[in-house]
Amino acid sequence: MRRRGVSRILEAVFAAMLIIEAAYISYFLMVPPNPSTPRESEGLYRLGYSLLTSISRNNGLDRLIFDEQWNVRPNWENDLKVTVTSLLPSNILFNITVYNATMDPSSGFIKLVKINRVPISNVESSDAFLKIGETTQITYIYATRNPNNGKLQIYYIYLVLGVLRGV
């Protein structure tokens, strides 16, 4: 009888240990199979927003796209590409598309008109993003004011980032 009582206690202890172990293992199971993935994804997100925030700060994007008379600068896409390239690590691929958002007065819907005439990217083709492991797409909304007509203008900036491995 005494031995049976002890074994009951030991059973209980082992059972509890099993529960703990299950919980502990489940914590790791929450993480995707490739442990580097979440960190990369988070990092790309942060990197992308940080990049766009720094470009947009103090109306920097205005100065890249428009001249002093608020005319679209020729070859501004290349200037933006150079700027972004200089701000990103060399193994990061990017592609930027800028849209001018306008409100359709009749329907009230937002209409997007792409304003960059050439790709703003450090890859030849957007297919490159399909061949790499992890990519992130970021949408940034940017407001500014056209000093000529005093109108508020809103731009959508779509940024796709990817990490190039094995370089």
Binding site: I9, Y27, M30, P38, Y49, M103, A143, G150, K151, L152
Partner: protein, 754 residues
């Protein structure tokens, strides 16, 4: 054995406790890690919203304040702000919805400051709500915008992020600091201003172009831009502006503390400040109370006009004043006027009906933007308001001209009503309806130029006319009338009918001629008073000989076929004499359809009796209704000095047709045997006021054709007796009020302060 068993139990319990704690910490760690991962996923979005939300509000406030400063209308910048903000919100939501993020935008009501008094200016409790607010035109002014955003990302397990953005520019003037200072060899007027923004942070990066100052130059009667010679940054948002006149030298010392200031910060946000936000006056009337202290003078209501330089006018005459303070240039909708009702000791003031009118810079003609409130107060504008002195014994009132700070102050509401029933326009002032022939082609309706409808009756007023046309069976006079059509301009509290041209119409010949007589005429109908005002200016372009001597300035006609033998008919006339303490009274004929010729009697006509003896008023009335014509000293002087003194009269007569009753102030009495030459360059200024009242009774008839000719009707026609009367209550009221329209008794501004 029992001891060993006890030890096992203790060990087991400890292990169990440790295991449970481990479970708890693992679960907490899991949860935290999960949230951290989610937070990092949305952090960029949140930062994007945070930065852009603030920027959008800042841009909108800058644009809205600049727009309001330019347009003086709040609707436009407010609509602009809402449209742009709505645009941004839609764009934001469109973006966020793709990411599974919900955003909710609200417009909070935030108290910016409690009410307080600064330099005798009562500043209201100030809030920002409905997106943006502007409190300007006071010694402390601010522009502010505020909105709140709440963000949830259910798909990412992220909830509850919110942010309220408040952006403002707050500027105040240190009135005590305004003084003359010397910098080097030059004298300047120095003004200290304090500039801060949201959360009380000082604005440190302003420079000369951030400021604009206007001062009032009394020598030209205008607001002028001051030269900002230097801006000294004293730190903490405190700047000293060194001001000088455009021509150099400090601002005029008498007006150096009467300033308007605009500040635009580097963000483009504008505020407008004035060093004063009201002007107080004590005004005394000299027309009635001192002569009739116990009289119930319910009709003594003045319509004052105030010009930009601070001059008050009554009947186009400046009120005597110990000084003037200029009216600043806020949007006209901000201007309000308050007054005591029960006299200068009344602790309460009530808002008076007021409006701003735009006139030409010489104040002679109203413009087509007559009562446009979508503008700033400016040169040529008149602030018009109606001040009651209509309580028995009240001789002085305290009056305050004020400009509201809140840019959302609505424009004044319309109290005057106008309706059109061609060819007539009816202007309803709440007491009477003034009917005007306002349609093109009807300007020859001499006796319908103005009709005053009140008490279920109307009297027609005749205006300027001259010469007589001889017909086969009699005479048509006047033969010539100033022509052209009236333009009716209506404001919230008074309407003006105006015409100005060189056209003269000749109704008997159905002709019109040009170039003989220039005329500029104004009929003014204020709200809620018992009178209207007529101003006429006539200039003879060329020497003209009238076929027959006759020129009438203005008059009254009553009686129609419909009111024959009714109680509505005016029965009596009273006319003040050249001794203003005297007036005479008589009655008109009674119409007899079988003997209409008996109606036609000249009661007072210069050719037959004492018609040349007249004063400042003439009235016709019955026992409960009456209408008066008052004239002023200038017109009276025209009538009673050479070359007209021998020909002028107040003509009183009853007509052949329906015994209509006529009273007219004639400059040249009719003479069917003489012509009359009026030289080129002759000017005539004519004023009269038409007033309605309750008439009165007559008594004590007597016989005296020199006073009031009966046309011998009492001889054989006892039913149609015509008499002068020794007593009349109908003449008492005009006798009380006539001084109201005389220059010698114009109200006086006793004191002025701000």
């Amino acid at each position: 054995m029992s001891r060993r068993r006890g030890q096992v139990i203790i060990y087991a319990a400890l292990i169990m406790a440790l295991l449970l704690l481990s479970v708890a910490s693992i679960i907490y760690l899991s949860l935290t890690t999960y949230r951290k991962v989610r937070r990092e996923y949305v952090e960029g979005i949140i930062n994007n919203i945070d930065v852009e939300f603030e920027k959008v509000l800042r841009l909108i406030l800058a644009d809205a304040t600049q727009l309001y400063n330019e347009t003086a209308v709040i609707d436009q910048p407010r609509a602009y702000a809402h449209e742009k903000f709505s645009f941004w919100v839609k764009a934001l939501i469109a973006q966020l919805s793709q990411l599974g993020v919900n955003a909710n935008i609200t417009l909070p009501n935030i108290e910016l400051q409690p009410n307080k008094t600064v330099y005798n200016q009562s500043l209201e409790a100030r809030y920002v709500n409905n997106l943006l607010k502007m409190y300007w035109y006071s010694i402390q002014s601010l522009s502010a915008i505020a909105a709140r955003i709440d963000v949830d990302a259910p798909q990412l397990g992220f909830y509850g992020w919110s942010k309220t953005i408040l952006i403002l520019l707050n500027v105040s003037i240190d009135l005590d600091s305004i003084t003359q200072v010397r910098r080097g060899s030059d004298l300047y007027t120095a003004v200290n201003v304090y500039v801060n923004k949201e959360y009380g942070l000082p604005v440190e990066n302003l420079y000369n172009e951030s400021f604009r100052v206007k001062y009032f130059d009394t020598s030209v009667g205008r607001w002028l831009d001051a030269e900002i010679s230097a801006v000294e940054n004293n730190g903490g948002g405190n700047y000293t502006l060194l001001l000088s006149k455009q021509a150099g030298g400090p601002l005029p010392s008498e007006t150096e503390k009467i300033l308007m200031l605009w500040v635009e910060d580097r963000r483009g946000i504008v505020v407008e400040l004035y060093t004063y936000d009201h002007i107080d006056y004590v005004v005394r009337e000299d027309a009635i109370s001192q002569y009739y202290p116990d009289y119930p003078k319910t009709k003594q209501v003045y319509v004052f006009e105030v010009l930009m330089n601070g001059t008050w006018l009554w009947l186009n005459r400046p009120l005597p004043s110990p000084g003037t303070y200029p009216i600043p240039i806020p949007p006209v909708k901000q201007l309000r006027v308050y007054s005591t009702i029960h006299g200068v000791d009344d602790p309460n003031m009530v808002e008076l009906p007021s409006q701003v009118e735009e006139w030409t810079p010489d104040y002679k003609r109203p413009t087509l933007r007559f009562a446009d409130w979508r503008k700033r107060f400016g040169p040529g504008d008149k602030l018009v308001f109606i001040v009651p002195f209509n309580e028995t014994g009240v001789r002085r009132q305290k009056i305050r001209i004020k400009w509201f700070h809140d840019a959302d102050t609505p424009p004044p509401t319309y109290k005057i009503q106008i309706s059109l029933e061609p060819p007539f326009a009816y202007i309803d002032n709440g007491v009477y309806k003034l009917q005007l022939v306002a349609n093109p082609g009807y300007s020859d309706w001499i006796d319908w130029s103005i009709s005053l409808h009140a008490n279920d009756y109307h009297v027609e007023y005749t205006l300027y006319g001259y010469d007589v046309y001889e017909m086969r069976s009699g005479y048509w006079f006047p033969m010539k009338l100033p022509g052209g059509d009236w333009q009716v301009l209506v404001g919230p509290i008074r309407a003006i009918a105006y015409r100005e041209n060189n056209i003269v119409v000749v109704p008997p010949l159905d002709q019109s001629i040009e170039g003989e007589l220039y005329h500029r005429e104004l009929i003014i109908v204020p709200y809620g008073v018992d009178y209207f005002l007529y101003f006429g200016y006539f200039y003879w372009n060329k020497t003209t000989t009238l076929d027959y001597r006759y020129l009438t300035l203005f008059g009254q006609i009553s009686g129609t076929p419909d009111d024959v033998h009714t109680s509505k008919r005016m029965k009596y006339a009273s006319i003040q004499l050249s001794d203003p303490n005297e007036f005479i009274t008589g009655n008109f004929t009674t119409y007899n359809p079988r003997r209409p010729w008996l109606s036609n009697v000249m009661h007072r006509w210069r050719a037959i009796n004492d018609a040349g003896n007249f004063g400042y008023w003439a009235a016709q009335y019955n026992n409960y209704n009456g209408q008066i014509m008052f004239t002023n000293e200038e017109t009276y002087t025209l009538l009673t000095t050479n070359p007209y003194s021998s020909y002028s009269e107040v003509w009183a007569w009853s007509t052949y047709d329906y015994a209509r009753r006529v009273l007219s102030y004639d400059l040249l009495t009719w003479d069917g045997s003489r012509n009359y030459k009026i030289n080129a360059g002759t000017e005539m200024k004519v004023f009269f006021a038409g007033m309605i009242y309750n008439g009165g009774y007559v008594s004590q008839p007597y016989e005296d054709d020199y006073v009031w000719n009966d046309g011998s009707l009492d001889n054989g026609y006892p039913l149609y007796y015509v008499y002068p009367f020794r007593q009349s209550t109908g003449g008492e009221l005009p006798q009380v009020y006539y001084r109201m329209f005389l220059e010698s008794y114009i109200p006086v501004i006793e004191s002025i302060s701000y």
